[in-house]
Amino acid sequence: MSSGLPPIQGAPKPQVKALNCPKCGAAIMLRALGQAISVVCASCHSILDAKDPNLAILQTFDKITSSDPPLIPLGTRGKIRGTDYEVIGFERRNIQVEGIRYFWHEYVLFNPYKGFRYLTEYQGHWNDIAICKELPIIDTRFSTPPEANYLGEMYKHFQSADANTDYVLGEFPWEVRVGEHASVTDYIHPPRVLSSERMSNEVTWSIGEYIYGKDLWSAFALPGSPPEAQGVYENEPSPFSTNIQAVWMAFAVFALGLLILMIGFEASAKKESVFHQSYLLSRGEPKGESSFVTNTFNLDGRTSSVEVTTSAGVQNDWIYVNYALINQDTGQAWDFGREVSFYSGYDSDGSWSEGKQTDSVVVPSVQPGNYYLRIEPEVDRSHAPVVYSVDVRRDVPVSAFYGIGFLALLIPAILVTWRSVSFERSRWSESDHPPSPIFNTGDN
């Protein structure tokens, strides 16, 4: 929530005056003499009329926030947007939602030539507030939530509430009172917030921009570090939203690149058949040593893959083949075993089948040279005659790499989108327009 306060006109001459509180006699320094309307005695907490040379007492209140002092002490000077300001006032306000009071703090900043400016702080979230230069236009006809147009920028309604002031300190450019009520409405366009504040028949609009605590601490040269921001604030800029569109654009470009890679490799791959042979295992075979070697075949070209395909006409049966692809000249070998099995039948659910009569495996990064296969088939002892064939092809692309690449590109894009959506849901969950739950639990 922001302060909606009238600006001081003109560029007055800076004046500072030391006075005494008419109630307790404590020294009071008026930093915005001639511009402050109210001043609060830090000693007895009387609210005094700063326009009155005798500082007439407007209100007295019990100090109730001794444990909640200003995080930026009154009198502190700092530079905001290139202008020096001094903190001259502090107030604590609250709203009550569903029986819970939420407190926030407002600071009045003053520069004798630029006038007043405000800072608000809620649970470590800060806003730099100024009075609007134009009256915003509210559009409730076509948009849900309603929107406000300010200087051509659309702001979505976030929250309306009744605010109450419960503690004041320092100087204020209006007649401040403890217990003061105002209807406040916030519209957001992160990182900006547009706020209206209605008191009696007067409405004040202010525009704020989210500012990080560490930047304020630096601007005011404050010791230590600012309180850590808790949760997601209404106009806190999302660390993800600016990335989402660009990330998905990049994803689309990369996916296209992947497609081009796939087309390129599919078109340029030789897929050259270098060996094909069929074998018959009659009933009762093999007897004794079952392994044998094939004729030598040549794998030429660059280092690339070799695909070995085993096809077997098995029906409710299996064949397992131990392979070794051996380089005749260097003795380098790849050892692997493949099973071909196929089962089918019919039951009360209808026909079913399981397995395949063909199996392929890709041997990686095989250098050119003369190779042969050592083959050692294994079958069930009671097998029917099995015909199986072995095919060897050179330079065959592996489609799974494209799938892995696609997933590798997709997952970060989904994650960052999910985080962005979660951030926005957290933001709006605190508003008058909370998002509907993603998963409906059915609980009433």
Binding site: L258, E289, A324, I326, A333, S341, D347, A408
Partner: protein
Amino acid sequence: MFKKFYLLYGILVLGGVGYAQYRGMSLDSMNQLKNVPKSVRDNPGSYRSIYSSYHHYTGGK
């Protein structure tokens, strides 16, 4: 920040896929051996595959 990371990451992914395909890499598991004796050519039984005596699944409903 993430945008830059993703751009670099995407380039690495595409490069990785291209390199894997060009080098003929594979996802299939197999055992690579060096210096298999030339005698295997004449006596295949002298070589024993580490995958032999595999426990075979005899499927079906």
